[in-house]
């Protein structure tokens, strides 16, 4: 591999104006509430920067008393995650609750023949991660009925494009406030919103097993991933152009392939076209439309 000439600058990281972005998202959340007829939000608070940012935005949009931040630890979750989640609750003064998912997850895994939880191959680890994410979803959606709120998702654009999330798990939500923000943009937004510095600074982790970090699991830094995604997706650069601008070819090809392979996670499942008019194909309506607002 030839070294990159010194005069070539890497493609830029996507930049946002955090103030404007926060205003846009708050307006978006408020409009979703008004259009659906809900006043409250529920968010799963992990102690990480994404869910903290959503909680801060949600508080701005609907007020702390209308936000339920649910903590959903598993027995191997880092104690720091719980500490940081409580920091957010304290900073916001929002409502909170805790449900330990261990008694949901462990018997289920045992039932499905996964008793030896500590010696796992990759496939088993993926299964465990998915089970945990989906159990959290079950609790969150149940809480949303009890609290009479909408579930605010915490998925970001980097995760969505790379498919780094569990379908019907952490990707399940009624609205996606930060779904069009890259991970590196989220840090700027989090700082602007006043998310505690410890949370913004710590390495991102799904915290599905001890020592797990996103960057370790993905094998790339978020800076490299976001630089590459921004060039490929937002600016529609070719792989060759990214490489010519100094990005590593392995990185760019890996990202491009992953974005393509994970398309299925970003779309509703295809419907076999039979009739003259098919939902999602030629029966097209805005989700929030006359009659779609709930009436109580």
């Amino acid at each position: 591999m030839t070294a990159r000439p010194a005069h070539i600058e890497l493609p830029p990281l996507p930049v946002i104006d955090p103030g404007t972005t926060a205003d846009l998202i708050v307006a978006f959340i408020r409009s979703q509430m008004a259009q659906t007829g809900f006043a409250r939000l529920v968010v799963a608070l992990s102690g990480g920067v994404d869910s903290a940012t959503v909680a801060f935005l949600a508080t701005r949009a609907v007020g702390a008393k209308n936000l339920l931040a649910v903590r959903l630890p598993y027995r191997t979750s880092s104690p720091d995650s719980e500490t940081d989640a409580l920091r957010v609750v304290q900073a916001l003064g929002c409502r909170t609750g805790i449900v330990d998912i261990t008694p949901m997850v462990d018997p289920l895994l045992a039932l499905m023949g996964d008793a030896d939880a500590d010696a796992l191959d990759d496939a088993a680890q993926v299964r465990r991660g998915n089970v945990m994410a989906r159990q959290r979803m079950i609790v969150l959606y149940d809480k949303s009925v009890e609290f009479d709120g909408l579930v605010a998702g915490t998925s970001n654009k980097t995760e969505a494009l790379l498919g780094y999330g569990t379908q019907y798990g952490d990707m399940a939500a009624a609205l996606m406030p930060i779904g069009d923000l890259y991970k590196t943009q989220l840090r700027a937004l989090a700082e602007h919103l006043g998310v505690p510095a410890e949370i913004v600074a710590k390495p991102p982790s799904a915290d599905l097993w001890p020592g797990q970090t996103d960057e370790g699991e993905l094998g790339r830094t978020y800076e490299d991933l976001d630089r590459t995604l921004f060039a490929l997706v937002d600016r529609r650069w070719t792989v060759d152009r990214c490489v010519a601008t100094g990005l590593d070819r392995d990185l760019v090809e890996w990202v491009a392939a992953r974005v393509a392979r994970m398309e299925y996670k970003r779309q509703m499942p295809p419907v076999a076209k039979i009739s003259l008019r098919t939902p999602g194909i030629d029966h097209l309506y805005p989700r929030r439309r006359p009659g779609s607002r709930r009436t109580t």
Binding site: L24, D180, L284, P286, R289
Partner: protein, 316 residues
């Protein structure tokens, strides 16, 4: 003479015609109470923007009493308002009506329907087929109506200027995106440049009314503006928020503007037409007009007798 122009930057309710008629009527009452002579509402103010298959549900005819009723009680006030029009031949168009005293005095159907990127208008509405300026009487003589994307095609406002417009009214539903720069949002910079350029090159006043509010994931940015015929900003509404701003257009500025910078009067439409005809013939691969014209100079470069027309699709 002063003309007071109000920009009613509002957030329509998606798909709710009756609610929007009420909203428009209320804002109109406020504006007329403030002495407005012209009140401009945004694109699709009566229906909301992201309609998709709701289009036929909210479409009304241009002679619908509900439309004509807007401002019918104030016969001296002109009102521009966007709506979904069902035409006599049952086309559905994104239209803007110019109303005065219960009469439709002008109508423009959006000619350029953006169907790219986040836009999908060409799927749900049909394109207008006319670019005209509307007679409104003194002191503005004629007004050129257009809808949002129409302004990204400079021939349209410039044709309306040549057709006699002293005021261009553009009604819009511009979604915010890429809040990357310190200046704020992508697209706003482009809008400002084009408004100022058209005002300057057309020595024409411009009233731009852009909606606010949210539909699905979109946030509309507002920032409605009134510009004088030198491109100066006479009134400006805030970003994102509903607002009713009134600016004062001094018609003497139009008069002196066109004396000081007589570029509109110096336009060579016959030349434009000849070259446009030639380009159309060339692109379509049809016989060019008989008279190709010349610039009258003996040493003009020879034009090839016949040349390969540029085709959109090469024959197999």
């Amino acid at each position: 003479m002063e003309v007071r122009i109000a920009l009613a930057q509002l957030a329509p309710h998606l798909g709710e015609l009756d609610a929007n008629l009420e909203l428009v009527t209320a804002r109109l009452a406020e504006a007329t109470a403030d002495g407005a002579d012209i009140v401009v509402f945004p694109e699709l103010a009566l229906t909301g923007y992201l309609l998709q298959d709701l289009v036929p549900d909210v479409a009304i005819r241009a002679d619908d009493p509900r439309l004509l009723g807007i401002g019918s009680a104030t016969p001296d006030v002109m009102v521009a308002v966007g709506f979904v029009e069902e035409t006599r031949t049952r086309r559905y168009c994104n239209s803007v009506a110019l109303l005065r005293g219960g009469r439709l005095i002008g109508l423009h159907r959006k000619v350029y329907l953006p169907t790219y990127g986040l836009f999908d208008e060409g799927r749900f509405t049909r394109a207008g087929q006319q670019i005209r300026a509307t007679e409104v009487g003194d002191p503005l003589h004629k007004v050129g109506l257009s809808v949002c994307e129409d302004f990204w095609h400079p021939f349209l406002p410039m044709l309306q200027v040549q057709d006699g417009a002293l005021l261009l009214i553009n009604v819009a539903a511009g979604p915010a995106r890429a809040p990357g720069s310190a200046a704020g949002l992508a697209a706003i910079g482009g809008w400002h440049k084009m408004q100022e350029t058209y005002a300057l090159l057309g020595t024409v006043a411009i009233a731009f009314c852009n909606r606010v509010g949210n539909e699905e994931g979109l946030t509309f940015w507002g920032g409605s503006r009134l510009l004088g015929p030198d491109g100066s900003v006479l009134a400006e509404a805030p970003l994102y928020e509903e607002a009713l701003v009134i600016g004062v257009l001094e018609t003497d500025d139009l008069r002196m503007g066109r004396y000081n910078l007589p570029v509109v009067g110096d336009e060579r439409l016959e030349l434009v037409r000849r070259e446009v005809d030639r380009i159309i013939a060339d692109r379509a691969g049809i016989a060019p007009p008989v008279d190709q014209g010349s610039d009258g100079e003996d040493d003009a470069p020879a034009v090839p007798a016949a040349h390969e027309p540029e085709r959109e699709v090469e024959p197999a």
